[in-house]
Amino acid sequence: MEDMETTPELIEEHGITEDEYQRIVELLGREPNLVELGIFSVMWSEHCSYKSSRLHLGKFPTEGERVIQGPGENAGVVDIGDGLCVVFKIESHNHPSFIEPYQGAATGVGGILRDIFTMGARPIALLDSLRFGSPDQKKTSYLLKGVVSGIADYGNCVGIPTVGGELYFHPSYNGNCLVNVMALGIAKKESIFRALAEGVGNPVIYVGSPTGRDGIHGATMASDVFGEGGEERRPTVQVGDPFTEKLLLEACLEAFGTGCVVGVQDMGAAGLTSSSSEMAARANSGIEIDVEKVPRREEGMTPYEVMLSESQERMLFVARKGGEERLLEIFRKWDLNAAIIGRVIEEQVMRIKEGDKVVAEIPVGALTEDAPRYRRPSRRPTWQDDLNRLDTDGIPLPQDYARVLERLLSSLNIASGEWIYTQYDHMVRTNTVVLPGGDAAVLRIKGTQKAVALTVDCNPRYCYLDPYRGGLIAVFEAARNLTVSGATPIGLTDCLNFGSPEREEVMWQFEKAIEGMRDACCRLGVPVVSGNVSFYNETGGVSVYPTPVVGMVGLIEDVERCMTPWFKKDGDMVALLGWHAEEFGGSEYLSVEHGLERGMPELDVDRELRVQEACRQCIMDGIINAAHDTSEGGLAVALAEMCFGPERTFGVRIGLR
């Protein structure tokens, strides 16, 4: 198979366009062989190269005095004082989860956790943001059951608490579910590691599960839409082993303490190929790998398969020359496969050998910096205007407000997610101070008086009705969740789930949503430190609602001061902080009661900032017992949610005048 000569069909099957192929020939100065073609196809896929989004992502603010590491590494790093920092990121595993929900979601958890501990941090929290089609679809319940048990089994076995998340159902996700997983870790500032293949002659060590044929072309699959019969791409699903992940986590953290580690990266999408080339690119060095030395699970694997395999639970280390034995000893202690498979070299190329035969040699820059960048055409959809026309007089007032509130509270996008999060161990590591069910999860930082607050949030309906304001609100709503917990937002990670970038209206939605998020981040002074883009979430030409999921982290200086949304004492006064407008455009009420998705709520940024600051001040001064933000379902639902406390249930009486 290796010496097959690259035919147009083969190129097309690798998802590479005609002019991209010409560019490859130019960069190599010759035709690529099959191994090289495979490597280019995964490294230049949308998923790895961000070719349709890179130009727009540049608009985000990524600096700030707390920022230690912004976008470009495996995860973002933000300083929280006391010599500590938080390391966090959110990732998507949408396509694998649609094909095999259990393993798709489980490997999503495994992958995001490796992005955290590869930076030298101990992961302490997981959150999941899940979106499915309408509940009456048979496939929806199959996907939901598989995804939840996949996340539960993997997270529980690895021993990292899943402390929060969101669950949303909407017909636009019938053909494509969204499974975004966020993870956060803690590290000392001086023990942060970066993915650098530095120091000519330093040995490259492979550690973790042996390589199999799973997931080959996982990266290109994620950059491709499903046709109606998309399911026959089944063999590309990877299988996760949380037990090996736990060994890998402990072994890596132990290895980092030896001083023998120069650089490290986990093998994520595009496995060995992306980890090795990206580590070399970041260090302006080269890397040489002998595939024969790579531990394997199957016989007769070709260099093509070894380089593109996406077997899970594998890491690539660059060791200080002479320190490799010390590292191999630690990996043996933890019963992990480990082997020296290559070394850092002078010439800035990735050279793949099989024994002493060179099977691929590619300039490192060609795979990373010189990957194509497209400014895709974008156009405001014609149907956008009448989305914002809502004739409120035509909407009848409800006859029985109590029944309406009941229907809202039992609608799946508002109802409690307790039946899900009780399947997750959300208390292990004994840091969880505010348990799931509140606005944000709060975790104490042992050894300090501080705590961090975490939330993931996005209202896709707003982003469909008005992408700019939808993006703006997504960021402010995440900040609100942190503020009502008593936290100050300090950093953001995002997972931008959209349809095909080759469709103009999708690109318009993408640009506008990013502009809205950017403006909100600038006004809040919150930097974007990591993130992920997932395009091609569409089936049969129907794409998902624009879903820019925001993962935000806040800091609480004194953990005793953190706040929860539930009423605490009889006789407490209830006050609404902020302005109440007579509007219900784009509301859950309008959708649940009248099946309408029209109009859009206003957001006055200055007022929003003042309300959040006032709320935080009230909490700091200890003059309030509960604080909750009004989101889906509005004021009535917010008040009801405040009554259902984990310790006690309360009633509340409100005078509307």
Partner: protein, 230 residues
């Protein structure tokens, strides 16, 4: 007085137990790697923590039971020293035959993580001497295989010898099937061996030893063994 927290590949609550003993109760405590074959003499009490030893593959605790350290744990118990198994630790002690019975899959077939209430049945043991008879403790469980099973005759022996330490109950101490989260026979949540020096329980006391985490009902278990060791 010194504690040892055994670390199996896949243990997750080892850090949590170590934290309570060292930072909350300021006792001397050390980690014991599962490949060790000799525990130093000055260790008085071994704790087998919660987690997913060996990924819970085949059966929970089935493989950990053969770790090199387990032969040492058996000797340690024979010498009359104290052994505490929490969640996965309890499963391992049952598989090793140091405690009677088996922990099967919850009858809901789902992993359950929530606060439950347990009633203290016997206060004449090193693990419950600081509790009051019939006292109800609020403690979290986090397991998929906590459905304790013993056959009829063993159950009778446990009841007669007072080896049942805790039963799942309602907040006011009523041992009803409604209060049983996983289907355990006779609502059993924790037992002790005939000699009284080896204990296993499914709920996690180490997760409720600090007010910031919502309560201190778990402290009684640790302070009992501390006081017993004198």
């Amino acid at each position: 007085m010194k504690f040892g927290v055994v670390v199996f590949p896949g243990s997750n609550c080892d850090h949590d137990c170590h934290h309570v003993l060292k930072n909350v109760l300021s006792k001397d405590v050390t980690y014991i790697w599962h490949k060790t074959t000799a525990v130093d003499d000055d260790v008085d009490c071994l704790i087998l923590p919660g987690g997913f030893s060996y990924g819970d593959y085949l059966r929970t605790g089935a493989i950990a039971r053969f770790s090199p350290v387990m032969a040492e744990v058996e000797q340690f118990a024979k010498k009359g020293k104290y052994v505490m198994g929490i969640c996965n630790g309890f499963q391992i002690l049952c598989e090793a035959g140091l405690l009677p019975g088996v922990l099967m899959m919850n009858n809901s077939l789902k992993f359950i993580c929530k606060n439950v209430h347990i009633r203290v049945e016997n206060i004449h043991t090193p693990f419950t001497s600081k509790c009051r008879k019939g006292e109800v403790l609020k403690m979290p469980i986090a397991h998929k295989d906590g459905n304790y099973f013993v056959d009829e005759s063993t159950l009778k022996r446990l009841e007669d010898n007072g080896q049942v330490l805790f039963r799942y109950s309602t907040p006011d101490g009523d041992v009803s099937s409604k209060a049983n989260p996983n289907g355990s026979v006779a609502n059993i949540a924790g037992v002790v061996n005939a000699e009284g020096n080896v204990m296993g329980m499914m709920p996690h006391p180490e997760r409720v030893c600090e007010p910031i985490l919502g309560g201190t009902d778990g402290l009684g278990i640790f302070t009992s063994i501390v006081e017993f060791l004198g």
